[in-house]
């Protein structure tokens, strides 16, 4: 496995970013397929083939393009670009703060896309997305801060090769991050703004008015995003690549399990519980760490 690290170090930053841009959609699509298969199994169904997300996206690219507002697709393309760029920066080993803020900016464009169309369902979805963002963003930033406190660097390349296990310094931060990961993956109980499951009280939430190629692009963006988020989980265990890989995958399976077991929360509960968890697990971790150092 150390040879993987060596290969990683041989590549220049641009090459690492390129590798991410090519491989992430494949990995993300497969993860989405495993998600659907496993969800079906947990519900006692046979489930679609693991390749199903790729079929869906390929089909969507063949559908007619319907545009109700000329800015709607512009926003979606920016959503895609910023997500892919922050993922590329992360995997190239650049600044983790830049990644976090790039991701937030991408989320903002997604919300703008939701508001740019006429459908009230889409507007409601976009409003809920704002609430979700307010809920998870503090914890994401705390994660970056905690990692800096522990290692003295914001650079992903340094973080991942830090000799001591980061998880020992940041157990609270990790738990808090796990909590908000459910929101970021758009899993129940926090899939307020849009759900991957067919029926929702607000139709398809923020993606209601997007059809064909635009919807396919949203789907691919989520694949990029999921791989990036699992990469962040990896950082906590970067001292041993095998453990890190296993834990990242286990985290994903855990999220699917949570998804199957919970009904959707109201936004009040989402916001309150997330902030409470951020305060208890995240901030206390930071305080203890600063006292110890």
């Amino acid at each position: 496995m150390n040879s993987i690290y060596e290969a990683y170090q041989v590549l220049s930053m641009a090459e690492r970013a390129l590798v991410f841009l090519v491989l992430a959609p494949i990995a993300g699509g497969l993860l989405a397929g495993i998600d659907r298969k496993l969800s079906a199994r947990l519900q006692g169904r046979y489930g679609p083939p693991v390749r199903q997300p790729f079929f869906d996206v390929l089909k969507l690219f063949q559908k007619e393009r319907i545009v109700v507002n000329k800015f709607q697709n512009f926003n979606i393309i920016l959503f895609f670009l910023f997500t892919a760029c922050s993922g590329a920066l992360f995997f190239a080993g650049a600044d983790i703060l830049l990644t976090v803020f790039g991701l937030a900016l991408a989320g903002t464009f997604f919300i703008l896309a939701g508001f740019s169309v006429g459908s009230p369902y889409s507007h409601l979805g976009a409003e809920r997305e704002v609430i979700q963002m307010v809920s998870y963003e503090p914890m994401v930033i705390l994660m970056a801060v905690g990692m800096y406190q522990a290692t003295g660097s914001f650079k992903v390349a340094d973080l991942v090769q830090y000799e001591a296990p980061l998880i020992l310094y940041l157990p609270g931060i990790f738990l808090g991050f796990l909590y908000i990961l459910t929101i970021k993956f758009r899993k129940s109980p926090f899939d307020l703004s849009m759900s991957h499951h067919a029926h929702q009280e607000i139709v398809r939430g923020i993606t209601t008015e997007f059809s064909g190629p635009a919807l396919a692009l949203i789907e691919i963006t989520h694949w990029y995003e999921n791989v990036l988020l699992l990469g962040m989980v990896y950082l906590f265990f970067g001292f041993n690549p095998w453990i890190a890989l296993v834990v990242s995958l286990a985290t994903y399976l855990f999220e699917i399990f949570i998804d199957m077991n919970y009904a959707r929360f109201k936004w009040q509960l989402t916001l309150a519980s997330t902030w409470l968890f951020t305060a208890v697990a995240g901030i206390s971790n930071i305080v203890v760490l600063s006292v110890m150092k």
């Binding site: 046979y46 679609p48 199903q52």
Partner: protein, 145 residues
């Protein structure tokens, strides 16, 4: 290569009648029949759908909603009439408000018989609709140039 066969997404609309067929469509999503194993998703959103599955006869009121849904679906799209009511009006055809089957107002591509239509028949109908979808896609692409 067209991918519609691997991922047909359905929009289901119940235009009236006894709700028997309506329930059968839901039943075909349950673990016993599991529509999703063919990649079929019941979307509930016309903008995402490929196949419009209509159950029940069309009446003077529901025709507006039905046409509205159909118009919002992106091409290529297929209409499936599920159950005898959607085909001909069944026992309701003489009611003063009932216009009859779906093909009175929209171009139906697939007829799924039965009162109520069995989930197996519905799945069969969707598979047939996929073939038509692929054909329509080829035509539509040619028309677009």
């Amino acid at each position: 290569m067209a991918w519609f066969k691997r991922s047909p997404w359905i929009l289901h609309y119940n235009a009236t009648s006894c709700n028997g067929c309506d329930t059968e469509v839901i039943v075909s999503l349950t673990p016993l029949y599991d529509l999703e194993r063919f990649g079929i998703i019941n979307t509930g959103n016309p903008k995402h759908a490929d196949i419009l599955a209509v159950t029940g006869s069309v009446n003077e009121k529901s025709v507006q909603a039905l046409k509205n849904l159909y118009d919002q679906m992106p091409n290529p799209k297929v209409i499936m009439a599920v159950g005898l009511c959607a085909i001909s009006g069944c026992v309701f055809q003489d009611c003063y408000n009932v216009m009859g089957g779906v093909d009175k107002v929209l171009p139906v591509d697939v007829y799924v018989p039965g009162c109520a239509a069995r989930p197996e028949a519905i799945i069969d109908g969707v598979i047939m609709a996929c073939e038509i979808l692929e054909k329509k896609y080829a035509e539509w692409k040619k028309g677009r140039g």
